[in-house]
Amino acid sequence: MAPLLDLEDVHARYGSVQALGGVSLSVGEGEVVAVLGGNGAGKTTTLRAISGLVTTSGRVRFAGERLPRAPEGVARAGIAHVPEGRGIFEELSVDENLRLGAYLRRGGFAESYERVCGHFPWLERRGAQQAGTLSGGEQQMLAIARALMSRPRLLMLDEPSLGLAPIVVREIFRILGDLNENEGLSILVVEQNATLALRSSSRAYVLEVGQVALEGPSSELAENESVRKSYLGY
């Protein structure tokens, strides 16, 4: 079966600086895939390339079709992107953020809302609160909740653990695991925290200077000597 998301030889550049030098990766239906790598390896750019936030060359296919090259079109195709730094609307309320998450959906808001609140019960009580006043962990959860409101086929997360307390990070990854196991959501997650990323994914890619240096099942990569030295620190 063809993978849900399929990148083939994708290049991207910021001005004269090449950020991706031919990345090929795929995410299967119902799979959790992690992308690891150091600073500047191209992890964020890979997600931005998929979402059409940077100009790219190469082929990106989603559900067997060419993915549109503009973010609006990518969202319409069924990919929800939780960007680095969360990208919530700080000035708007929690409820307004969730309503925006369901922007592309016609009807079915109540049902999506209920489902999302099942994962993040506190959202229901804090609907009127201005999103910018939430704690960092809550903002990250709101960003994920908003992405889920669009009922995506693929959820892309950029460093969901960044700047959060370990207990909050564990909670977020527990919910992501739950979404994957019980709702079959496919997830592509970019993470600096390699231990966590490898533990919660089935396959992983290691990026180095804009190219895929290593790929394979997460359990194998966790045993790999160079991965252990460079990213796991033992």
Partner: protein
């Protein structure tokens, strides 16, 4: 008492024109984050389009509707072609651009239609008579203009408060990238913001010409300052604030002129300084305006 009420009514009448123009400023600010200094000159320009239509034999109200439509489409086109390049650029770029548009539209109006005095509308759009409410005369024209202003305010408030479109318009201004990621066509939202503002500006221009004839290419210049004061007093992002601010400024200016027996201010000279002082005062005491939302950010 009757005298006081009469002066308040007169103030409301000029205030509703300020309120209309302020509504246009608020829409553009709220849906694109740009402060549009050209709002008044755009209104003048569209009013002359209406004059031209009437001059070619179109009925007044027909020309009125047609002008609003032209303004809507023109506003969208203006955003897509001229304003687009400053999107996502520093605020100062937008300020310079709209000041440029102010000069451009002012110049165009003066160039195309010359600075001649024209009587427009040809006949009064509203009945010239007045109601007598307990000794207070309320002209039907003033009442009509105020009613239209209030209806537009309520419609805009409903749009931003309750509709998906209104939420998408606000979101596009707050964070274009995040908006695109949830699937909003941000480019069209920004265009629509300008289109709506231009359309409401057209109504403001047409009513200014009707309330304070004659039609003149520079008629909106003073009104723009009061509209700005209105928008700032009310809070730049609140439609209700814009209208309350506009009416307040209309009434305050009128009352000062009536009851100033000590200072003997020459109202025509002090109107502008008073409006500007109000802007300053509000920015000092309550920068978000009377109806603006205080935004808190975690640091």
């Amino acid at each position: 008492m009757t005298e006081l009420l009469q002066q308040i009514v007169a103030g409301l009448s000029s205030g509703s024109i300020y309120a209309l123009l302020a509504l246009g400023i608020v829409i553009i600010y709220r849906s694109t984050g740009v402060v549009n200094f050209a709002q008044g000159e755009m209104a003048t320009f569209t009013t002359f389009i209406a004059w031209t239509l009437v001059d070619h034999g179109v009925g007044y109200w027909g020309a009125f509707g047609l002008t609003i439509l032209i303004a809507l489409v023109g506003g969208i086109a203006l955003e897509r072609i001229v304003v687009r390049p400053v999107e996502g650029k520093p605020v100062i770029n937008g300020v310079i651009l709209t000041i440029g548009l102010f000069i451009l539209f002012g110049g165009l109006s003066n160039w195309i239609w010359k600075a001649e005095v024209r009587s427009f509308p040809p006949s009064r759009p509203f009945p010239t008579s007045a109601w007598n409410l307990g000794g207070v005369a309320v002209s039907k024209q003033d009442a009509g203009i105020l009613a239209v202003t209030l209806v537009l305010m309520v419609l805009l408030w409903l749009l931003f408060r309750y509709t998906k479109l209104g939420l998408a318009l606000s979101a596009s201004a707050l964070s274009p990238t995040a908006s695109r990621l949830v699937g909003i066509r941000v480019g069209w939202m920004l265009g629509l913001g300008w289109g709506l503002a231009a359309a409401i500006g057209a109504v403001a221009g047409l009513f200014t010409a009707a309330a304070a004839p004659p039609l003149d290419p520079n008629m909106m210049r003073p009104v723009l300052i009061y509209a700005f004061a209105a928008a700032v007093v009310g809070g730049l992002e609140s439609p209700i604030g814009a209208v309350v601010g506009g009416l307040l400024i209309g009434v305050v200016l009128n009352l000062i002129s009536t009851y100033d027996t000590h200072l003997h201010l020459d109202l025509d000279r002090v109107r502008l300084p008073i409006a500007l002082a109000l802007i300053l005062l509000v920015l000092l005491a309550r920068p978000t305006g009377l109806f603006g939302k205080q935004v808190v950010r975690r640091v």
